[in-house]
């Protein structure tokens, strides 16, 4: 926590100046500065960048084609698949953790530092503040998946031979086509994290303790995962946050299979709408002292 206080409180902009500058896009840019100005954000992105490197080095050192199934098993033959495998491996844990930390921080962090008080009285308006927060979170989600994409690209090209990409359907496309599809996967996974980010934003609006917001958001994520693992309640499974998360792989079919992808995006949109609205209701009806 102390590092956090130094990071924000010791920044170049005192809280009054922050409040004054937050109009429209200025508000958004200052949010981005806030998110990406924290050492914590860069540590998280650094950890994500290490994932492909560790996976790649491990496969390289084990030396064999291995018996691994799916994307991991293809990495040794084609470095391209390190990108996809790393994204797939980061999805169940690393990426949600990063999003939980950043989103739990967003409002609760400012409340704990006292800066939220100024923001709530500022002329920019609370609705706009919330919008800027959400957009900044979305940008972080994208930054996180693109980090994995880029690290996977570099590690894959350095450690392994690369070549044409064999799709799930058994047909082969050029490496450039494959890289575009992998980029699409990174964007889709970022979009898959939006629902969780919205939950985090809402929880964050409820408390002035960032750690509590992070813990609660992560609990919601874990509970969703547990519910998804209980077969007896499979009627609710399609409504769970993570139900469509693996649909990104449908981009690697020939032709891509859009049904599940679209469904997942709609689902994330629904979570975003519900929890963003809840966060808005909370923030706009909240006392200035929180």
């Amino acid at each position: 926590m102390s590092a956090e206080v130094m990071e924000v409180g010791g920044g170049s902009s005192p809280s009054t100046a922050v409040a004054r500058g937050r109009h429209g896009t200025a508000l958004f840019w200052s949010e981005l500065h806030l998110v990406f100005g924290r050492a914590r954000t860069w540590v998280l992105l650094g950890v994500l960048a290490v994932v492909p490197v560790i996976v790649g080095v491990a496969i390289r050192l084990s030396g064999s084609e291995g018996d691994a199934q799916g994307f991991l098993g293809q990495v040794a033959g084609n470095g391209f698949f390190l990108i996809v495998a790393s994204l797939a491996l980061s999805l169940p844990f690393f990426l949600p953790t990063a999003v939980t930390v950043i989103s739990g921080e967003s409002l609760a962090g400012e409340a704990s530092l006292g800066t939220l008080r100024n923001l709530l009285t500022a002329p920019a308006g609370r609705s706009r503040l919330l919008a800027a927060k959400m957009v900044a979170l979305a940008v972080f989600c994208l930054a996180a998946t693109l980090t994995v994409w880029l690290a996977g690209l570099i590690a894959g090209f350095v450690l392994f031979p690369v070549g044409d990409v064999v799709l799930l359907s058994g047909s082969t496309v050029s490496l450039a086509d494959g890289l575009v599809r992998a980029l699409g996967i990174a964007v889709l996974i970022a979009a898959s994290l939006i629902g969780l980010a919205a939950i985090g934003l809402f929880v964050s609006s409820l408390t002035s303790t960032p750690l509590a917001a992070m813990a609660a958001t992560f609990s919601a994520f874990i509970v969703s995962g547990i519910l998804g693992a209980i077969p007896q309640i499979d009627v609710i499974h399609p409504w769970l946050l993570m139900y469509g998360w693996t649909s990104f792989a449908d981009l690697l079919r020939d032709p891509p299979y859009w049904d599940e992808i679209v469904r997942n995006l709609l689902m994330q949109g629904a979570y975003l709408a519900v929890f963003y609205a809840a966060a808005w209701a909370r923030l706009t009806s909240r006392d200035i002292n929180g």
Binding site: A249, R253, D259, A270, S285
Partner: protein, 371 residues
Amino acid sequence: MGTTRRGRRWLVPVTTVAVVAGVGAFGPVVADASPDLPGITAQDLLAKVQTAKVDGLSGTVRSAADLGLPALPGMEGSQFPDLLSGEHTARVAFAGPDKARVSVLDNMAERVLTTDGKTAWAYDSSEREAVKYVLPARSTKPAQPRPEKDAYDPQAVAKQFLDAIDPTTKVEVTGTERVAGRDAYKLRLVPRTDKTTVGSVTLSIDSKTWVPLDVTVMPRTGDDPAIQVGFSSVSFDVPAASTFAFTPPQGVKVTEETVPAFKPHSVTPPKSVTPKTTPQTPRSGSADDRPDVVGQGWESVVVLHNADLTPGTNGPLDQLLANARTVQGAWGSGKILTSKMVSALITDDDRILIGLVTPDTLVAAAPKAPR
């Protein structure tokens, strides 16, 4: 800002939840309202279905099965016909008399089965293995590398139920609906016998091509479909010939088999979930291993021979058998396994009787079953 006005803001998220839930739950219902179609008698519809012929089609098929089978670890996968468990999505394409392609879209993987009439390919993306089957010249029926091909073809599934239509079946047109964006009649087949576990079979039949687009099998007890196979999208354009070609990608292990071999697993239920099962399973096995069919129509029972169910070698199945009810008769004795839809009788002389029938029907069929 008064307290009431603040409280009212919470109506926004609450309304959002209601709208999302409403659209999610009832949106599809509204979109699938019954279309207006000219009336047709069950007999006319039946005749049209049985003579329906299309040169080719392609589309996406969704299947869901809940036969109430026990989930046995180790029995999933290739030994266990896909159709019999869980939900699946497959892309299908058919053309001419003998061209077919079925791609089962698994989670982050895909299994492709394709045949152009001369060769057939089975490709598994997760194993990165491809098997090439060189099919015999048209001496027999076009060979089927795996039974999945039929399992994902609503037309084939429907045909097997239509074949079962005889005086023991009540046939009626129960309305219209939209399936895969096309107007369809609903044809319902109800067995008149109570010896089967099948409550009813509903076919959704396209009003232009008379091709069945959806098959729903309801059990005698319960409200949830036991089997549902249907198109979620369909096109009746003949797919290009290249659709059915397959070039094994680099780095994939390719094995070649001349005889289309499908090794029946000893505890595998009948390949087609039909009352009148055509013994399509093993072509390579000896005559002794060939399954027989006892009984007719809805009461058909499939008999598998030489089932090797020595205790202690089948893992979880042993447990299941240990708890199973023992039945006896002049024919010998055996164990009865039952589920919502499927019943099986495993006799002490290594025969397995399986059918969509009640356990009593199985016992009655046991003396008639060849050894």
